[in-house]
């Protein structure tokens, strides 16, 4: 009943990189979703939410095609590095970022939109730029949402299966993540090994979510002054 620590380490790396990247990419997208008055905003919102409803195989398939040598992106990458992105760790990162996007953007946007508008206006009348208002007022008051978004995207990446399989395949040390390792073991009738790994993943995800909900309950999940 051995746990595949290599797969664990790889999955952890993937989750850290993806949730960090989503934090950076997600903030401006969430800001735009929360505050833009563009009429076609709903289209962007729908696109961001797509991965929630789309089967991972569908998303994975299109990511695979986009990364492959027939697509402009794939060709550009091959010209740059000499090899294709498909079935590599970085290909996996790109697929995972797309797949976990709504899990970061939606909590971010919801918490930005919940910040009392008057605070944002007050900041502007006090001479602050939009950027300063974001970092001094909006972001600090959205900490619970930011933690939720980061944790959800982290946990979601830890446990993903379909997209990984489509984009990364099953290369030990490169693209074999924990969930694929579990699947492999079940295929090979190694139920106790599958159980140990699954239990560990279950524990990690539970502890993470419990931490998120526990943290968000704390007093500094501030509300605007009445």
């Amino acid at each position: 009943m051995a746990i595949n620590w290599q797969a664990f380490w790889l999955t952890l790396q993937l989750a850290v990189i993806v949730s960090t990247a989503l934090f950076v990419i997600g903030l401006p997208i969430a800001y735009w979703v929360a505050f833009s008055r563009a009429r076609w905003k709903f289209i962007v919102e729908a696109i961001v939410a797509l991965p929630i409803v789309l089967p991972p195989t569908v998303l994975g398939f299109y990511v695979l095609v986009a990364l492959g040598p027939r697509s402009p992106l794939g060709r550009w990458w091959i010209a740059l590095t000499g090899h294709t992105l498909a079935f590599t760790f970085w290909g996996l990162v790109i697929g995972s970022i797309l797949y976990s996007l709504p899990f970061a953007v939606q909590p971010f946007a919801a918490s930005f939109a919940a910040v009392d508008r008057k605070l944002i206006l007050a900041s502007a009348t006090l001479g602050a730029s939009s950027l300063r208002t974001f970092f001094r007022v909006i972001a600090p008051l959205s900490i619970p949402g930011l933690i939720t978004g980061a944790a959800l995207s982290f946990a979601h990446t830890m446990g993903e299966f379909g997209v990984v399989l489509m984009v990364g395949g099953n290369i030990p040390g490169v693209t074999r993540t924990v969930s694929i390792d579990i699947y492999d073991r079940v295929q090979a009738s190694d139920y106790s090994g599958a159980n140990a790994t699954a239990l560990l993943l279950l524990g990690i995800c539970f502890v993470l979510l419990a931490l998120v909900y526990g943290t968000n309950r704390r007093a500094w999940a501030v509300k605007p002054v009445e």
């Binding site: 007050a122 009348t125 001479g127 009445e226």
Partner: protein, 407 residues
């Protein structure tokens, strides 16, 4: 202050003698101050759905009060001056600085206007301390200068002891002071106050107002103060502009506008419980008065107004300005004594609101359809006079308590 009145300003009438005296007094004391500091000149047209704001005004340094019911457009007007809302038409200018001008496409963004705005909700940053709140608008100053300015404004508004307290953990009155300090420390070109003190008790309110006046003695900026409270208008006692449904109804001193309003809408806003249709019976220019009929055999002597005999007017009388007597009073200076019968008494808090059916001069028993007047009494007055429905009473109304309005 008088110079600050715009063309649409309120014109004096012969009846408002007291009012004009007050205005003279005020203008003579305010003129030297008004000479310094920048004026705000604004004409704003903005359509928001069904609502249209169409306002033109000038504000000299010092308080200009915007009074009106909720929905009158007071906050929208402030938002236009601050730049939070862009008007459809018009111009907003402070001194030589043009904030907005439709004709030249000028639109200075909010953050660059240097307009101080204290919202009704105050909008203190709850996650920051009082000191961080107050220093928020001073980011462009070096550390030492910032600390100096914060220190001096905290002292001026008596909130130094709150310095390191989180903004969400201070009381209502303290929050108001912090919000004012946070805005004033930035040396704004104009100060906009949107009912900032409405939640406070009178003593706290007047202390804060005193601090604000003291501050403005040295800074001399226009302060636009929005309120829907009559008490606040009189307490501030400066130039008032009455807004209703997006338009300026009247402007002048509180005395002119609120106690002798020319328009009935203003009268309602200013709280005239009794408003009557009247016909001019006779005019006495030598006495500065005229006699108007408000019902069958019920007459009121009112201040003189340029009006033809037989013309129709409206007369407003505050319920609190009417005296009640249980026997026919004699030897009074008041010119209007009307007999009547108490119809109902209702207690509202510490005031008793009575409805009296008027009999008129022929002292006949009132008919069902005759005129009723609302009179406000104290609880003690009701008890000592032993008033009850059906009591015979006499209403005593001074000539100058009758406010004549054009229809």
């Amino acid at each position: 202050m008088k110079a600050a009145m715009s063309e649409t300003g309120w014109k004096q009438t012969a009846g408002a003698v007291q009012a004009s005296e007050v205005a003279e007094e005020r203008s003579s004391s305010a003129t030297p101050e008004a000479a310094e500091g920048n004026r705000l000149v604004a004409s704003v047209h903005k359509q928001l759905g069904e609502f249209v704001l169409d306002v033109e005004f000038e504000a000299a340094p010092g308080f200009t009060i915007f009074f009106g019911p909720s929905g009158a457009g007071k906050t929208t007007l402030l938002d236009c001056v601050a730049g939070l809302i862009q008007p459809d038409e018009g111009r907003v200018q402070v001194g030589q600085r043009m904030f907005y001008d439709r004709s030249s496409q000028a639109h200075v963004p909010v953050a660059k206007r240097g307009v101080g705005y204290v919202f009704q909700t105050l909008a203190l940053f709850p996650h920051l301390t009082v000191e961080q709140n107050v220093g928020y608008g001073l980011a462009h100053f070096p550390q030492r200068e910032r600390a100096r300015r914060i220190g001096s404004i905290l002292r001026a508004f008596h909130i130094e002891h709150l310095r390191s307290r989180p903004a969400r953990k201070i009381s209502g009155g303290e929050s108001q002071r912090v919000a004012l300090a946070r805005t004033l420390v930035t040396d704004p070109a104009v100060l906009l106050l949107d009912e900032p003190l409405s939640a406070l008790d009178a003593p706290t309110k007047s202390k804060i107002i005193a601090d604000l006046r003291e501050w403005n003695r040295t800074h001399r900026i226009p302060i636009l103060y929005v309120t829907h409270s009559r008490e606040e208008v009189f307490a501030l006692g400066e130039r008032v502009i009455v807004l209703d449904r997006g338009r300026v109804l009247a402007e002048g001193t509180p005395h002119q506008v609120m106690t002798a309003p020319l328009q009935e809408t203003v009268a309602h806003l200013a709280g005239f419980e009794n408003i009557f249709d009247a016909t001019v019976e006779s005019v006495h220019p030598e006495q500065g008065s005229m006699r108007c009929r408000i019902a069958d055999a019920v007459f009121l002597e009112t201040p003189l107004m340029r009006a033809e005999i037989g013309s129709s007017l409206r007369i407003g009388v505050r319920a609190g300005d009417i005296l009640l007597a249980t026997s026919l009073p004699q030897g009074l200076s008041a010119r209007n004594i009307i007999s009547g019968r108490m119809r109902s008494l209702e207690q509202h808090d510490v005031i008793v609101s009575c409805l009296v059916q008027c009999c008129g001069e022929d002292h006949r028993e009132p008919r069902r359809d005759t005129l009723e007047m609302e009179v406000h009494l104290t609880l003690a007055a009701r008890d000592s006079l032993q008033l009850a429905p059906g009591s015979q009473v006499w209403l005593v109304i001074k000539t100058h308590s009758c406010h004549v309005m054009r229809e």
